[in-house]
Amino acid sequence: MKCQKVISLLTEYHDEALDQKIISEVKEHLDQCEECKAKYGEFKKTLKLLKRLKPID
């Protein structure tokens, strides 16, 4: 799988909304490609940041 494709699938990969076969392919790519791995790290960091928004009551 190519980098561009992997990046386009990060949302669904993160949400586990892909077929198992595709998940394996994305994972394999992320294990081997430092650039995509870094982008996925940043992606996760963004979501973690967003979730730090405290609820009001």
Binding site: F43, K45, T46, L47, L49, L50
Partner: protein, 198 residues
């Protein structure tokens, strides 16, 4: 949907004020937070929540179990939000470092960063994301709706929901990077004006 929830809905549909009150009071805080995440304004969020609950109270007889009660109620609240936010908001820019915020506990720097991040998250959602991106991001990443529930709430296909969510997450990330957020870079400069209200 739990048995208790179904029982309450059925009683509410038959006109039980106690049942509808119990049903809505369980969801009130959820809707309040949902509206706050979309508007960034507590007072407005409270008004929208109140309106949504009143509308749900009046329309409970139209609930047909096609979705979760929460999804149905969210859709009502979201439509009210959409009606009141048809125009895009504008704001000027400002550099955070020009603002002096006094500390109270002898550690002012830490205190600033903490309040800054909360402010920046809500501000970025409110001003730097188009409404459609803000809605999908809030529903998925703050309210944990499934793709199916988001598509039901927003009236989008599952495919469009996935595409919009991906774009929304990318844009949210880039607003923080472009603003040189401390979470992504070492030198922090917020470029928005509302920081004055911290």
């Amino acid at each position: 949907m739990s048995t208790l929830e179904v029982e309450l809905i059925e009683k509410a549909k038959q006109g039980s004020h106690a049942a509808i009150s119990e049903l809505l009071s369980k969801e009130q805080n959820f809707i309040l937070n949902f509206m706050y995440q979309l508007t960034g304004d507590r007072a407005e969020a409270e008004d929208l929540t109140q309106e949504a609950l009143i509308m749900a109270y009046r329309k409970i007889h139209t609930f047909l179990y096609k979705a979760r009660f929460r999804t149905w109620l969210s859709k009502i609240a979201l439509n009210l939000f959409r009606q009141k936010h048809r125009q895009k908001r504008k704001h000027d820019s400002l550099i955070l470092e020009e603002i002096i915020i006094p500390g109270e506990d002898g550690n002012p720097e830490r205190k600033i960063i903490k309040s800054e991040l909360q402010w920046c998250i809500i501000h970025n959602l409110q001003y730097h994301l188009p409404k459609k991106f803000r809605m999908v991001l809030v529903l998925r990443d703050l309210q944990n709706f499934s793709y199916k529930e988001i598509s039901e709430t927003l009236g989008w296909s599952i495919s469009k929901t996935k595409t919009m969510l991906h774009r929304a997450r990318q844009m949210f990330r880039s607003t923080f990077i472009n603003a040189k957020c401390k979470a992504f870079t070492e030198d922090y400069h917020c470029t928005c004006d509302g920081i004055k209200n911290l």
